[in-house]
Symmetry: C2
Subunit: 200 residues, 2 copies
């Protein structure tokens, strides 16, 4: 059945979806309320039209500038630098952070030909400089790239670039996750959690 | 972002898709080739229009009767009885079986109010009787319902119903799956694999 096979093939292109999952999803849709299938189809078709990038911070938004950049209740002294737009959504969901964001749009990766010019680093510097003329200048930049080789390299690069900009540069703590187990922590995580130990 | 949240919520209604998977799929669609998102949407919207039930066997098909029922290369002496249309696809994918099918559309479940009249049992008997007037009558009915309480009950019920119909009634073998491990086989599976032991 071509219609069925075609949909299964399309589903398997989504991340984390294998053939078995794709089949289950397709069978479900075959039996589901037709209105559900229609809304799902419409939502998928309209997604890219409705979600744009914020011209200030580079995160996903329905209005430009995004609600965070234009929010009156945000702490404008602190700027969190992340790799991708979805990182903003993840951090916002934690409700732990009330400052601004800046999305790099990737990480430095010389082997893949991704240099500083491919990332939103120039606009980061511009934003910091421009904020000096505003009532509340940016005072701290939190580097929240992942604790991977590329994430660390990018963080170190940005720290260097911001040296002369008169802002504090910090990095998210790495260590054993809450609820984690020493036994299952890898050597690097353990080493970092020792280096980053805090007085109790 | 409503567009994003709405799609995530719709995705989580699909079987086996939790919030994290739904988010990953949505992010992927945000960045994907717009043509991919469009084909996925169209395929989902059109699925139920394109896939119908075969009026003979009750399985999914794009043409009626389905390619199996109308196939000249199928063994019309043997009829495999399954619970759902997708079971036909699963068995066809194994390329182990060349006979015909009959989909029950469910299993007997008195507690849920599903009696024999809710299943395609009457049409099964009719098919068998009608086949006696054809060049190749049905000689064997293989009961391929799952080896669960409901599947077994339904199989026993159909065996009884077919007693006077002059066909052999068989049941798919249950036992330790190929590549499985005795250690991980449950007691019932082990018991059945003893009962069904074969000369080597």
């Amino acid at each position: 059945m071509k219609a069925l096979e075609d949909l299964v093939t399309l589903f398997t292109r989504l991340p984390g979806i294998g053939r078995k999952s794709a089949l289950r999803m397709t069978y479900y849709l075959l039996k589901a309320d037709p209105r559900f299938a229609q809304s799902l189809a419409e939502q998928i078709a309209g997604l890219q039209d409705q979600i744009k990038f914020c011209s200030v911070c580079g995160s996903y938004t329905e209005s430009d500038p995004c609600p965070v950049c234009s929010g009156l209740d945000r702490d404008r002294r602190i700027l969190c630098v992340v790799e991708q737009p979805q990182d903003v959504i993840t951090i916002e969901a934690s409700r732990e952070y009330r400052g601004l964001y800046h999305v790099l749009g990737g990480l430095l990766s010389p082997l893949d030909g991704i240099g500083p010019d491919k990332l939103r680093i120039a606009s980061l510097i511009q934003r910091i400089r421009k904020s000096r003329n505003e009532s509340v200048p940016i005072q701290e930049v939190v580097l929240a790239t992942n604790p991977t080789v590329e994430g660390d390299t990018t963080a170190l690069y940005i720290r260097k670039v911001l040296e002369q900009e008169g802002v504090a540069v910090t990095r998210l703590a790495t260590g054993i996750p809450v609820g984690g187990d020493l036994e299952y922590a890898d050597r690097l995580t353990l080493a970092r959690s020792f280096r980053g130990r805090m007085p109790l």
